[in-house]
């Protein structure tokens, strides 16, 4: 297939194909990114061992499922194991890096190296995969993996969950206060150390959940986490540091682009389009979607009408130029 071919939107079924592909891509992007975004957005750490947090979730889920645990229980086990793992790592190593986020990249890269090889030494080159729940969705001559579509629902639930955690719980309130200004938060009596631990644990749990959910669909090798890295970083680039808003909008935007090009042209063009969109997005929105939204919010606060406040960022977005200079 090449790019000159006319897109094949011939019937309603092809549109369903496109929609399901979109949901699939959306879920993958959002779930790949959430753990990374929480740790990056809230703590400023670029976690290059993100893939290996996913590996912990995927392996523990798979081992539990293959040992006979029901799938949902296995997912919970995978998520919790990763949270505990993340907290242990934070306490023993990463807490030393809070004031030097760039060094944390090297530290997490080293951790990633050790974890991949450690997994290989301990578990061998692969472990037996768990089975994918549900069957297929059938329509016309086509079908689609029901589980992968269901993951879109899960990813939306996860986003809502994160939103609620950060807006409706005391932890969320304190976490946001700590992120905004740790010194003031401490002066106000917030135990910032504890907040860091919990935030890191929460981010780890999300990465673990991703690993758990995708465990039955991917081949279980020590490199399994590497599958998520490109999507995760691209989603962070486009979404920016806001966990819920940025990630979900990035998921929608990139998922649509990826689905369209994969579906109409080929998987290859889907991938190239995804990466190209990321680079373009950075030029137009240097701080990601988050930056654009904050800009609008600032203008609103400055007393502009909604209409007016949308106008300028829209122009910036279309014509380029930094929105956060």
């Amino acid at each position: 297939m090449d790019m000159t071919e006319v897109p094949a939107f011939v019937d309603i079924f092809s549109l369903v194909n496109l929609l399901l592909q979109f949901l699939d891509s959306f879920a993958f992007l959002v779930l790949a990114a959430v753990g990374l975004v929480v740790i990056f957005g809230m703590m400023g750490i670029i976690n290059l061992a993100h893939g290996e947090f996913i590996l912990v979730g995927a392996y523990s889920t798979t081992l539990a499922a293959v040992a006979g645990a029901p799938f949902v229980v296995a997912v919970v086990i995978g998520t919790l194991t990763t949270a505990v793992f993340g907290i242990l790592l934070e306490r023993s190593i990463l807490k030393r890096f809070y004031d030097r986020p760039l060094d944390s990249m090297v530290a997490t890269w080293a951790i990633s190296l050790m974890m991949i090889q450690g997994t290989r030494i301990y578990f061998g080159n692969s472990i037996t995969q768990a089975s994918t729940p549900f069957g297929s969705i059938n329509y016309g001559p086509y079908s689609y993996s029901a589980y992968r579509v269901a993951l879109a629902g899960v990813s939306v639930a996860v986003l809502i969950g994160i939103y609620l955690v950060f807006t409706r719980t005391e932890f969320g309130l304190k976490a946001r206060a700590t992120i905004q200004d740790a010194d003031t938060a401490r002066a106000m009596g917030v135990n910032t150390e504890r907040i860091y631990i919990l935030t890191f644990g929460f981010g780890s749990a999300l990465a673990g959940l991703t690993g758990a959910l995708y465990a039955p669909t991917l081949s279980m090798s020590p490199e399994v986490g590497q599958n998520f890295l490109v999507e995760a970083f691209v989603a962070v680039v486009v979404g920016g540091s806001s966990v819920v808003m940025g990630t979900s909008l990035a998921g929608i935007l990139l998922g649509a682009i990826n689905a369209f090009f994969s579906n109409v042209y080929s998987t290859f063009w889907g991938r190239i389009a995804l990466l190209a969109a990321a680079i373009l997005a950075i030029r137009l929105m240097p701080y990601g979607i988050t930056g654009v939204i904050e800009n609008i919010r600032d203008r609103r606060r400055a007393g502009m009408s909604l209409r007016e406040s949308l106008k300028i960022p829209a122009v910036t977005v279309l014509l380029g130029g930094g929105s956060n200079d």
Binding site: I46, L102, A110, I111, M114, I121, V237, R271, I282, G322
Partner: protein, 364 residues
């Protein structure tokens, strides 16, 4: 005569300044000893080991390129390997079309193309308002795009003249660098790279200790303040980033001719992380640290791999973690501090006679 000495002295003083570690007599003496060791090395180990060491030396340019832009201007690029790779491919394309005699124009082409790509990406970022850690993420995304794109160029349609890009399998048969009929390989290539690295290192020292170097450091320390003081911060970052691309490109050209081969793995995440590792281990703000750490880390990595031990990657990871945890600014600043303390202690013990020496060291 005295005029010549004066000139030499002023040239030497341009090498020293507050922006480099090691400015005193002790440093330069040790440097000279180290240099002799580097140049004597092939005579003791033979051509093969020299050839292997050449790889670590030529990676030195890549390490320096990141040290220069990150350590001195605060721009963390995750994409130095992209310029490295682009230059290597360009060198391959030109030499495969015009033969080994064209290595000099090919090397120039590679470096120029890497520079242009870096300039384009730098313009795109710095004039688009991309800052801080986002620069790292954008450059990483760019590198990964290059990887995906180059990996699929196996078809016959992906050829420039006689040179097939070769997709994932890469581009074999790239000739050695050839100057005036001499093909550089083994020990000769080692000396070529060592001399070039020495010149580059000294040149960068002059640069970072110059007025422009101080502006770079001002930008690193506080962009807004530098802007307020009237410096064109965007331009500074753009120029520095572009020059970083030139250095990385130079490294890529040498790499392609070292292995007579280049493939898309130069754009892979695992390779992209290496310069950051080298520079962090050696000390971000130390040029000599970047070169030494590049050499040390790669050498050790190779030694471990050669044992065939399954623990090799675990050990290398643990060592990196150890260095980064306990020497926050990198190994060279750490060692520098202890060296100074030790030196001071020695002088004190010996008494007043060596005042001048202590002063020279203290002025670092």
């Amino acid at each position: 005569m005295t005029e010549a000495v004066e000139k030499l002295r002023s040239a030497f003083s341009a090498l020293n300044g507050p922006n480099t570690y090691g400015n005193g007599r002790a440093f330069w003496t040790a440097f000279a000893v180290g240099l002799v060791a580097v140049f004597a090395y092939p005579m003791f180990v033979g051509s093969y080991s020299a050839g292997q060491a050449t790889l670590y030396l030529l990676y030195g340019f890549l390490g320096l390129s990141l040290c220069f832009i990150w350590g001195y201007c605060g721009v963390l690029s995750f994409g130095q390997v992209a310029f490295f790779g682009v230059a290597g491919y360009a060198f391959g394309v030109v030499t495969l079309n015009f033969g080994a005699e064209a290595t000099v124009p090919a090397a120039l082409a590679g470096v120029v193309i890497a520079t242009v790509v870096a300039a384009a990406l730098g313009y795109f970022m710095f004039y688009g308002g991309v800052r801080d850690v986002y620069v790292a993420i954008v450059t990483l995304a760019f590198t990964l795009v290059m990887y995906t794109f180059m990996a699929q160029t196996a078809g016959r349609e992906w050829a420039i003249g006689d040179a097939r890009l070769g997709g994932f399998n890469g581009m074999p048969g790239i000739p050695n660098i050839t100057l005036g009929g001499t093909s550089f390989s083994g020990a000769t290539f080692y000396y070529l790279v060592a001399v070039l690295l020495l010149v580059t290192y000294l040149g960068l020292r002059v640069l970072v200790n110059s007025r422009y170097g101080r502006v770079m450091v001002a930008v690193r320390e506080d962009e807004d303040r530098a802007e307020m003081l009237g410096y064109n911060v965007k331009l500074v970052k753009f120029v520095v980033f572009t020059f970083g691309g030139t250095l990385a490109g130079f490294s890529g050209v040498l790499y392609a001719s070292w292995g007579n081969f280049i493939d898309p793995s130069v754009f892979a995440l695992s390779f992209a992380a290496l310069p950051i590792v080298w520079v962090s281990v050696g000390g971000r703000e130390s040029l000599i640290g970047a070169v030494a750490a590049t050499f040390g880390v790669q050498r050790l990595d190779q030694e471990l791999a050669a044992t065939g031990s399954e623990w090799a990657l675990v050990i290398i990871g643990a060592l990196l973690l150890f260095v980064i945890m306990f020497m926050p600014k990198g190994a060279v600043p750490y060692l520098d501090r202890y060296a100074k303390a030790g030196l001071g202690w020695l002088r004190e013990k010996r008494g007043a006679g060596s005042d001048r020496e202590v002063k020279a060291v203290d002025s670092d």
